[in-house]
C-alpha cells in the first residue's frame, strides 16, 4: 500500500503520520502542497498542524492549495482520504466532509488522552477494529468542536456517518455535538477525526490503539489493489 502524507506549510503531524504508516507496514511518502500529483498513493493522509498558519480560521486557506485538486481527483477515482485534526478541519472546509469545527467549548487549546468508541467497523478506516472496541487516543486542538445544524445532524446519524464518538470516562473534551470525534462522507472513502491515531502508535507512547486505523487502511488498500489487478488481468 502507498500512503501519501500531504505537507502544507505549517503541517506538524506530517512526520508522525509517516512514522505510523510505515510502522503499519505501508510504503509512505510526503506529498508537497504545491504538487497535484499524489505519486500513486492509495491512501492520502492530511496530517495535523496549522496549515498556512490557520490564519482566518483553521483549514480555510489550505483548501485552495494545489494539492487539494489532486485530493479531489483522488476521491473521485475512489481513493481513500484520512484527515487527522487539522486535516479534518481542511476536509470540512473543502466540503469533502460534512460539518464544521468550531473553537472548543472551553475556549482553550485542549491536550489530553481521550477514549473514543468506534461506531462502525465496516469502513475502510475501521475494518480491523473489533466490534465494541474503544480507542485511547490523544487530542490536541483549539478548534475541534464538531458542529452541524440540527436537521443535518439527524441526517448524519441516520446515514451512520459518525465513525468515532467520545465516550467515558474522559468524555467529550471540546463540546462537540453528539460527542462526535470523527465522521465519514457518504461515499465511505473520506474520513476525518480530531484525535490523533498516529500518535497512539506504540505502547511506549502510552497506547498503540491508533495503529488499528492504519492497519484497517492497509487491509482495505490491499483488497482494492488486489481487485484492481484482477480486473486488469480480465481486461488484458
Amino acid at each position: 500500500m502507498r500512503v501519501g502524507v500531504v505537507v502544507f506549510p505549517g503541517s506538524n503531524g506530517d512526520r508522525d503520520a509517516l512514522h505510523a504508516a510505515r510502522l503499519a507496514g505501508a510504503e509512505a511518502e510526503l506529498v508537497w502542497h504545491e504538487s497535484t500529483d499524489l505519486g500513486g498513493s492509495d491512501v492520502v493522509v492530511l496530517p495535523g498542524g496549522f496549515a498556512y498558519g490557520d490564519y482566518i480560521r483553521a483549514g480555510v486557506l489550505a483548501r485552495f492549495s494545489p494539492v487539494m485538486g489532486g485530493v479531489r481527483q483522488h476521491v473521485a477515482q475512489g481513493g481513500l482520504v484520512l484527515g487527522i485534526c487539522n486535516g479534518f478541519q481542511v476536509l470540512a472546509e473543502a466540503g469533502l466532509l460534512p460539518g464544521a469545527l468550531l473553537r472548543n467549548a472551553s475556549l482553550r487549546f485542549e491536550h489530553r488522552w481521550v477514549r473514543v468508541a468506534v461506531e462502525r467497523s465496516d469502513t475502510p478506516f475501521t475494518r480491523a477494529i473489533p466490534r465494541g472496541r474503544t480507542l485511547r487516543l490523544p487530542i490536541a486542538h483549539g478548534e475541534g468542536r464538531y458542529f452541524l445544524p440540527a436537521p443535518d445532524l439527524e441526517g448524519l446519524e441516520a446515514q451512520k456517518q459518525v465513525v468515532f464518538r467520545y465516550v467515558a470516562p474522559e468524555g467529550n473534551p471540546n463540546g462537540s455535538a453528539h460527542d462526535i470525534a470523527g465522521v465519514i462522507d457518504v461515499s465511505g472513502r473520506v474520513c476525518g477525526l480530531m484525535p490523533h491515531p498516529e500518535r497512539a502508535s506504540e505502547p511506549i507512547l502510552g497506547s498503540d490503539d491508533g495503529m488499528l486505523v492504519f492497519r484497517s487502511l492497509l487491509e482495505s488498500a490491499a483488497e482494492t489493489v488486489g481487485a484492481g489487478r484482477e480486473s486488469a488481468e480480465v481486461v488484458g
Binding site: P9, G10, R15, F50, R112, W113, P173, I204
Partner: protein, 802 residues
C-alpha cells in the same frame, strides 16, 4: 518613547538615554579611537547591555565547570551540545524571557519559546521538547491570574503551532514574583553530529543572507530597555520594546534551516534574537576572526521610514542570518522560496575584523558576485554609517567586577504583634497529619499542574514517553533504544534565605529527578534570575548562587554547557527571590528499563533511601502552617547526594527498582501520596518519627528517594545501600486503595493520646481523596473552573496497576 531623540542642551546626553554610562562611553571611545556616531552608539548600547554582554556576570560564570567527557559544544555557542552515541547529540538550553512577559504576557512568553527554539535549530538540531519554568506572585490576585493566563496561552500558542511538544516544567507561586514574573523556557533538540553547525562567518567573500520575516520596529531596544534595567513606574510604555511572535513563520524557519544544514548549503548560521542583526553579525564575525559588511538597503522591511539604528537593532522575530558561499546562493534561495521565506543577500564576509554598515550599495546578486568585497574599508566610497571592531561589540565588551555584600537580613521580620510560632511539631500541636497532607496536595505549589499542561500539546512528534505529570520528561530517541530524560528545577524559597544552598539544591534535585528514571545525567544548563547587579546585596546573591551551582556540578561530575543570566528582576516593591533555574538532560540507555514514579504493583516493599535532616524553613509545610522563627534550612551534603544518585542508577541498571520518586515539595508524605496516586496502588507504611514529626513527614530535606522493590529484591537493595554507606529504611508494602502512614517511635503515639487531643497518629486516606485534593488545588487557587475530568489517569499509567 523615542530612543534617538537628538540631544539638546537640557536633555541627557544620547549615550545615557540609551542606557550607557559615562564610563562606558569612555570605554567605547578607547576601543574605536574616536567618538561614536549615533548609529554606532545604538549598536553599542544593545551589545553592551547586560543581557547581551554579560558584563556583570561574565567573570563569575567563568568559574563554572564546563568540561565533560561527552560535551561537544559548551558555553559561548547558541546551546550546549552533548554526545549520546550512535552519532547523535543533544542540544539544550534554558533561557529567560521575564521582562517582556511582565509587560505583555502572551507575546513575551510566546517569543520566549520562539527564541530558545531558534537557539536549538540554529545548531542543526531538530527541537524535540520544550519545558517551561514559570514563577508568579499570589495566585489569588487578579493581576497574577491574568499573567498566568497570558503566559500559559503564549507558551502553548507558540509551542503547539510549531509542533514541538511542551512536556514539562515548573509552576511556582511566591510573593516576591508579584511584580516580576519569571518565564524561563528550556528547549531540547536532537542532531546528528555531522550536522552540527556553528554561528560563525568564515571565508571573506562569502555572502551574508538574511532569511525569514521582514524587519520591523518591534522589539527596538528589547535587550537594553527591557532586559537590562529595573522596572519603574509606567512600564506599559515599554510595550513597543516587546517583540511579536509568529509561530507559523518559525515552523517554516525550522524546516528551511534544517534543510539548508542537511544539504550543507551554509557555512554558518545564527538566529536573530536580542540586538538583532547587530548581534548576529558581530558575533559570527568575531567567532570566525573575520569581519562583515552589512548593506542596510538590502534588508527587507515590514514598514517604511525606519531609521538605520532601528533596522540594525530591531528584534523582529523569526529571522536567521546565514553565511553562504557564492556558488551556493541559488540553492539557498531556492530552499527559502520553497518554504515561502523571503531571503536577501544583505552583506558579505570581510577580513578586516570590523562590522561595517553601509547604505546605497547595490547588493543585487550579479553585482555582488562580481564585486568581491574582502575589505570593509574599501567600501568607503559608499555611505559608511558605522564601522566598529567586531570584538569591541562582543568578546571585548566591557566587563565589571561588581561589589557584593551579604544582606543584613535574609528573612522578613515577623509582622508586629504576630503570634510567635513556638514549635513545629506534629501531632503535638494538635494537627491531624492527614489534614495537613490533603492541604499540601491541594496547595497551589504542590497540586497537579494539569490545568496548565492541558493547554500544551505534549504528544506531537511521537517521542513522548512521559511528560508533564511527573518531575522529569522522557523522550525516546527514534531509531535507537535510548531515551532522553529532561527536568528543570529551582529552589527559590531556599535561595531566598541562602542563595548558595538554593542553587546547589536545585542542581541536586534536578539531577535526582533525572536519575530516578534510571537515566545518567549528561549536562546542566541554567537560567540565573536575579535583581539589580549594581546593588551589592543582589550581586552577593548572584555570586553565592554561582558558587553553589559550581560546587554542586563539580560534586556530581556534571558540566555546565550553557545558560543565561537575567538581572534587574525588581520593581519598586522589591526584588525577586534569587532564582537559579536549573535544567538537566540525561540519557537512558534502554527506554524499556525506564523506572516510573508510581507504585508499580501490589505487595512490593516500600523503602526510603536517605535520611531526613531537621529544618522546615522554606518548605511547603512552612508556607501553609508557618515555620518557627528559629527554624533553619535543611542542609545538603553533596557527597551523600552524589552517592545516592550513584546508588539509584546502579539499582535501576540492575533492574531492582519497581518505582522511584524524589522527595521534594511537601516532603515524604506528599512523595508517598504521589507514588500511590500515580501508580493507582495504595500502601501501608510505618514511619518512625523522633522529636520533630513535621520535619520527618513534611520536611523537604534533600537526598532522599522513595523506592519500591519486589520482595525478592529487598536483600539486593540492602547490600547496595550498605556498599554505598547510605541509610535505607523499609517503610512497608504497597497494595489496596488507601494510603496508610502510621507514625511510630518516640515522636508519635504517646503525645496525642496523653493530651487527649483526639488526633490520630496516622494518615489513612483513600486514593480517591488524595487524587481529588491534588487534582483541584491549582484551579481552585487560580479561581478557575476545575478540570472537567480531573480524575483521569495519565497515558503513562494505562495498562499498569489495573
Amino acid at each position: 518613547m523615542t530612543l534617538l531623540a537628538p540631544p539638546t542642551a537640557e536633555s541627557a546626553p544620547l549615550h545615557r538615554a540609551l542606557g550607557l554610562t559615562d564610563h562606558e562611553l569612555d570605554a567605547i571611545v578607547e576601543r574605536i579611537g574616536r567618538e561614536p556616531n549615533q548609529l554606532e552608539l545604538a549598536m553599542f548600547s544593545v551589545m553592551w547591555s547586560e543581557h547581551c554582554s554579560y558584563k556583570s556576570s561574565r567573570r563569575l560564570l567563568a568559574t563554572l565547570p564546563v568540561r565533560g567527557r561527552d560535551v561537544v559544544a559548551g558555553p559561548g555557542e547558541n546551546a550546549g551540545v552533548v554526545a549520546i552515541g550512535d552519532g547523535l547529540a543533544v542540544a539544550f538550553k534554558l533561557e529567560s524571557h521575564n521582562h517582556p512577559s511582565a509587560v505583555e504576557p502572551y507575546q513575551g512568553a510566546a517569543t520566549g519559546v520562539g527564541g530558545i527554539l531558534r537557539d536549538i535549530f540554529t545548531m542543526g538540531a531538530r527541537p524535540i521538547a520544550i519545558l517551561d519554568a514559570l514563577k508568579f506572585g499570589d495566585p489569588a490576585e487578579p493581576g497574577t491570574r491574568a499573567l498566568v493566563r497570558g503566559v500559559v496561552q503564549g507558551v502553548g500558542g507558540y509551542g503547539n503551532c510549531v509542533g514541538v511538544p511542551t512536556v514539562g516544567g515548573e509552576l511556582v507561586f511566591h510573593p516576591s514574583y508579584a511584580e516580576d514574573p519569571l518565564v524561563n523556557v528550556m528547549a531540547v533538540g536532537l542532531v546528528r553530529e555531522e550536522h552540527l553547525t556553528r554561528a560563525v562567518a568564515p571565508g571573506p567573500g562569502n555572502f551574508a543572507v538574511l532569511f525569514g520575516s521582514a524587519t520591523g520596529r518591534d522589539g527596538i531596544g528589547g535587550a537594553s530597555v527591557l532586559a537590562s534595567a529595573p522596572f519603574g513606574e509606567g512600564e506599559s510604555s515599554k510595550r513597543p520594546s516587546v517583540q511579536i511572535g509568529d509561530p507559523f513563520a518559525e515552523k517554516l524557519l525550522i524546516e528551511a534551516s534544517l534543510e539548508l544544514i542537511h544539504r550543507r548549503l551554509v557555512e554558518g548560521l545564527q538566529d536573530l534574537g536580542a540586538a538583532g542583526i547587530t548581534c548576529a553579525a558581530a558575533e559570527m564575525a568575531d567567532r570566525a576572526g573575520t569581519g562583515i559588511v552589512i548593506d542596510l538597503d538590502a534588508i527587507h522591511r515590514r514598514e517604511t521610514g525606519m531609521e538605520p539604528f532601528e533596522v540594525m537593532i530591531s528584534e523582529s522575530q523569526e529571522r536567521m542570518l546565514a553565511i553562504v558561499r557564492p556558488e551556493r546562493l541559488d540553492e539557498v534561495r531556492a530552499v527559502c522560496t520553497r518554504w515561502g521565506l523571503p531571503a536577501a543577500v544583505i552583506g558579505q564576509v570581510t577580513d578586516d575584523r570590523h562590522v561595517t554598515v553601509v547604505q546605497g550599495r547595490s547588493t543585487e546578486r550579479d553585482r555582488v558576485a562580481t564585486d568581491r568585497v574582502t575589505d570593509g574599508a574599501s567600501l568607503l566610497s559608499h555611505a559608511v554609517l558605522a564601522r566598529i571592531p567586531a570584538a569591541a561589540l562582543t568578546s571585548d565588551a566591557i566587563v565589571y567586577d561588581r561589589a557584593a555584600s551579604r544582606p543584613a537580613r535574609s528573612r522578613p521580620a515577623p509582622a508586629p504583634g504576630a503570634p510567635p510560632i513556638a514549635h513545629d511539631g506534629l501531632p503535638e500541636r494538635g494537627t491531624d497529619p492527614a489534614a495537613v497532607l490533603l492541604a499540601l496536595l491541594g496547595s497551589a505549589n504542590v497540586g497537579s499542574r494539569a490545568w496548565v499542561t492541558r493547554q500544551y500539546d505534549a504528544t506531537v512528534g511521537t517521542d513522548t514517553v512521559a511528560g508533564n505529570e511527573h518531575a522529569a520528561a522522557v523522550m525516546r530517541v527514534k531509531g535507537t533504544r535510548k531515551a532522553l530524560v529532561v527536568a528543570t528545577d529551582a529552589a527559590a524559597q531556599v535561595a531566598a534565605l541562602d542563595p548558595y544552598l538554593g542553587a546547589a539544591m536545585a542542581v541536586a534535585e534536578c539531577a535526582r529527578n533525572v536519575v530516578i528514571t534510571g537515566a545518567r545525567p549528561l549536562g546542566v544548563t541554567n537560567s540565573l534570575n536575579f535583581g539589580n547587579p549594581e546593588r551589592p546585596e543582589a550581586f552577593w546573591q548572584f555570586a553565592e548562587a554561582v558558587r553553589g551551582l559550581g560546587d554542586a556540578c563539580r560534586s556530581l561530575g556534571l558540566p555546565v554547557t550553557g545558560g543565561n543570566v537575567s538581572f534587574y528582576n525588581e520593581s519598586p516593591a522589591g526584588a525577586i527571590a534569587p532564582t537559579p533555574q536549573i535544567g538537566v538532560v540525561g540519557l537512558l540507555d534502554d527506554v524499556e528499563r525506564l523506572v516510573r514514579p508510581g507504585f508499580g504493583a501490589e505487595g512490593d516493599v516500600v523503602a526510603l533511601l536517605g535520611d531526613a535532616v531537621p529544618g522546615l524553613a522554606a518548605s511547603s509545610y512552612a508556607e501553609i502552617a508557618g515555620a518557627a522563627p528559629e527554624d533553619e534550612l535543611p542542609s545538603l551534603d553533596l557527597e551523600r547526594e552524589t552517592l545516592l544518585q550513584e546508588l539509584v542508577l546502579t539499582a535501576a541498571r540492575r533492574g531492582l527498582l519497581r518505582s522511584a520518586q524524589d522527595v521534594s515539595g511537601g516532603g515524604l508524605a506528599v512523595a508517598l501520596a504521589e507514588c500511590a496516586m500515580w501508580g493507582g496502588v495504595g500502601a501501608d507504611v510505618a514511619l518512625p518519627v523522633g522529636s520533630a514529626p513535621a520535619a520527618e513527614l513534611f520536611g523537604e530535606s534533600p537526598s532522599r528517594v522513595v523506592v519500591t522493590v519486589a520482595a525478592g529484591s529487598w536483600d539486593a537493595l540492602r547490600h547496595l545501600a550498605a556498599e554505598h554507606d547510605l541509610p535505607l529504611r523499609r517503610l512497608g508494602v504497597t497494595g489496596g486503595e488507601r494510603l496508610r502512614v502510621e507514625l511510630v517511635g518516640e515522636g508519635a503515639t504517646g503525645a496525642a493520646e496523653e493530651r487527649g487531643a483526639g488526633v490520630a497518629d496516622e494518615i489513612d486516606l483513600a486514593l480517591s481523596d488524595l487524587r481529588y485534593a491534588w487534582d483541584h488545588g491549582l484551579a481552585r487557587a487560580l479561581g478557575a473552573e476545575p478540570p472537567p475530568d480531573a480524575h483521569d489517569r495519565s497515558p503513562a499509567r494505562t495498562g499498569r496497576g489495573r
